[in-house]
């Protein structure tokens, strides 16, 4: 980054089922939190970037940029970013570009998703918009189905057992207990994961991130300083459909974004103390660890089978903290910043992807 970008304010709603809150209410609560915790005032915000995937599908609501801006007294310029579950990191990346270009000095980034207003069947169909509508959807696949295919192939290639996979969600649930914003603050024993109802074999209900309402907001600034800096903001993409890829057990977008992010931050992956990664399904956590280079192909599970110095999804991850899709990428950055402040460690990383990692955004934070 040419001029340092600081993370000056953060705010979020608890993730979960908020039947009494609209998409606007969710945004408002997270924006209030971000402004309250920031060194700047609301009037210092030059621009707003909103991350959202399903406004039209689940709330009949488009035009979320103006909706967010209308929550601020001076109605700053605003725009929306959409990249399915990677909307959050794409919005952060957009904000960084606005700051680097000098177009803005202080940007509010808010990710929001309101998912519980419509039936699970409609949400499942809407989420399939993250895949290729003419190549993947006509077979009747759901997103759990796509990751069912991926998990089944992964288990075949790397001899991963169903029992081993149980450790991923179990760890995330254990981590969520201490997170007041998590949807499920409840420990679940590993053996209960694979006995939960089947969703898309070999994946069970407790391998899947839930349907959640929630919002998360951060204020990024080149003007108002804070101990947390954005050391790298990188995006990478891959084919939209998994059928156009040479392999489904590794995600090229994660690899590309990781390589570029380490280069931008000028650090080694071993410098990183905390990561929040995109565990939309348990198997995705393993593949992501491997693609980011924290484990060899097929060995990601080792990082879940025993404790290690680098924390993984201390927030509970998408599984236990909840996954209001476009809020996730922003919430991850908030959680990593909290963990770094608490442990006084130097570097943390947020890994967020959309679809079957057709878009991947990686942010590295530095604490000074």
């Amino acid at each position: 980054m040419q001029s340092p970008i600081y993370l000056t304010g953060t705010g979020q709603t608890r993730f979960g089922e908020h039947w009494d809150m609209s998409i606007k209410d969710l945004m408002e609560e997270s924006i209030d939190g971000a402004i309250d915790s920031a060194d700047c005032t609301a009037l210092d915000i030059d621009m707003v970037v909103v991350a959202n995937m399903l406004g039209e599908v689940a709330s009949d609501q488009a035009h979320l940029g103006a909706m967010a801006a209308s929550l601020l007294p001076h109605h700053p310029p605003a725009l929306r970013a959409e990249a399915a579950c990677a909307s959050g990191s794409v919005a952060l990346h957009t904000a960084c570009a606005l700051l680097e270009s000098g177009k803005a000095e202080t940007v509010l980034v808010v990710g929001v998703e309101k998912m519980t207003d419509i039936s699970a069947g409609k949400i499942a169909a809407g989420l399939m918009g993250a895949a290729d509508a003419e190549k993947d959807a006509p077979s009747g696949l759901t997103f759990p189905g796509i990751f069912g295919l991926i998990a089944s192939r992964y288990m075949h290639e790397f001899n991963l057992s169903r029992e081993q996979l149980n450790h991923v969600s179990a760890r995330h649930h254990k981590n969520a207990v201490s997170n007041p914003f998590a949807q499920f603050r409840k420990e679940i024993p590993a053996e209960s994961i694979s006995t939960s109802p089947k969703v898309a074999d070999p994946l069970c209900m407790l391998d899947c991130s839930p349907i959640s309402d929630g919002a998360a907001a951060v204020i990024l600034s080149t003007k108002f300083k804070s101990p947390i800096k954005i050391a790298a903001s990188q995006l990478a993409t891959d084919t939209l459909s998994i059928t156009d890829r040479p392999t489904v057990t590794s995600f090229a977008a994660t690899k590309d974004a990781m390589t570029a992010a380490l280069e931008e931050a000028e650090i080694d992956r071993s410098d990183i103390s905390h990561i929040e990664l995109h565990d939309c399904f348990s198997i995705a956590a393993l593949i992501s660890l491997e693609d980011m280079g924290f484990a060899n192909p097929g060995e990601g599970i080792a990082l879940y089978e025993k404790e290690n110095p680098m924390t993984i999804n201390q927030s509970g991850g998408l599984k236990a903290c909840g996954h209001p899709v476009a809020a996730t990428g922003i919430k991850q950055v908030i959680d990593v910043s909290k963990q770094m402040k608490e442990s006084k460690s130097e570097y943390g990383l947020a890994h967020n992807f959309g679809g079957a990692a057709a878009t991947c955004g990686i942010h590295i934070l530095a604490y000074a």
Binding site: K122, P144, G145, L149
Partner: protein, 319 residues
């Protein structure tokens, strides 16, 4: 396992508009290949618009290296393994509110059917759109190679009408279906008409009786019956000829048929219109399923056609 028939639905992400459907049809041909299962899953709750209940879906690598995700037709997902070979099968995927039926390719594990060892004999099949001159050709053939060829009567549930030769055996729908269920038909098809469903078929006993006489059974048929016959006796038992109307382009061919149908004077304009619609499908069938035909013969000069066919038949008989 045949999945339950999908119900109509309206939700937009799974849109099923004529245009989207049309685009999808273009890819169907490419998906008609053998493949290998790279992975599979059972989706317990398919999205809205698909039949309720578990749906087995595979990630399949086709012979040409492309990959697809498609339903796998199986009654037992636990019998599947990664690496299995699968064959394509076209089936109804969805029906929209307006009744538009979307077909898609599913894949199935090939069942090891015992190959029929004995060769029952030849059946001569003439296929072509109505008006192309099948009946004329067959009558002339009976005179030129009559000692080798005999026509198989058509079993039908339709009412007898004037102008029928002795080519039809009329039965009631109940009788027809009873024969079909007892496996006494070599092939059968139903053609919906305005008020009822008409059945047509050929009895195995009629065909086999002709073989007993050391003759070649001849059938004048259409595409569905031909496909059925080829799977009943095996493709190599069928001496299959497609009769095409003369003309360079499809338009000229169809126009030749139209003239013949009008000259024949047997049908009303409404019936002719229906026949023309079918004719177009028949002509496409020649191109799409060329493997079902030994030869396509253009009926521009009746004598040369009969001579050509007679020659081909004698060739086989002598061989």
């Amino acid at each position: 396992m045949e999945l339950p028939l999908p119900v109509a639905f309206t939700f937009s992400p799974m849109r099923n508009t004529p245009a989207a459907n049309h685009r999808a049809q273009k890819n169907l041909q490419q998906k008609m290949q053998e493949g290998t299962i790279l992975s599979f899953t059972t989706v317990r709750h398919p999205p809205e618009g698909f039949p309720v209940g578990p749906r087995v879906i595979g990630l399949i690598e086709l012979e040409d290296g492309t990959k697809v995700t498609s339903p796998l037709l199986t009654s037992d997902a636990s019998s599947l393994t990664i690496g299995m070979k699968v064959l394509p099968k076209m089936r109804l995927s969805r029906v929209n509110d307006q009744g538009l039926r979307t077909y898609d390719i599913s894949y199935e594990i090939p069942v090891q059917k015992p190959v029929k060892q004995e060769f029952p004999g030849y059946v001569l099949a003439l296929t072509g759109p109505s008006g192309v001159g099948k009946t004329t050709v067959s009558l002339l053939l009976s005179t030129t190679v009559g000692s080798y060829v005999e026509r198989v009567p058509i079993l039908t549930t339709r009412e007898p009408k004037e102008g029928d030769a002795d080519e039809y055996i009329h039965v009631s729908p109940e009788e027809f279906l009873a024969l079909k269920n007892e496996g006494k038909l070599a092939t059968s098809t139903s053609i919906p008409s305005r008020d009822e469903k008409r059945w047509y078929g050929y009895r195995t006993e009629d065909i086999e009786a002709i073989w007993e006489e050391k003759k070649i059974p001849m059938i004048i048929t259409e595409m569905n019956l031909l496909q059925g016959l080829a799977s009943h006796y095996g493709r190599r038992s069928i001496l299959s000829f497609g009769l095409m109307p003369p003309g360079k382009s499809k338009r000229q061919k169809l126009s030749a048929l139209l003239h013949r149908l009008r000259d024949r004077g047997r049908d009303t304009e409404k019936q002719i219109e229906d026949r023309m619609k079918n004719a177009e499908a028949d002509l496409e069938f020649f191109a799409k399923r060329s493997e079902l035909f030994d030869d396509l013969i253009v009926n521009d000069d009746i004598d040369s056609v009969v001579g050509q066919l007679g020659g081909l038949v004698l060739e086989r008989v002598k061989a």
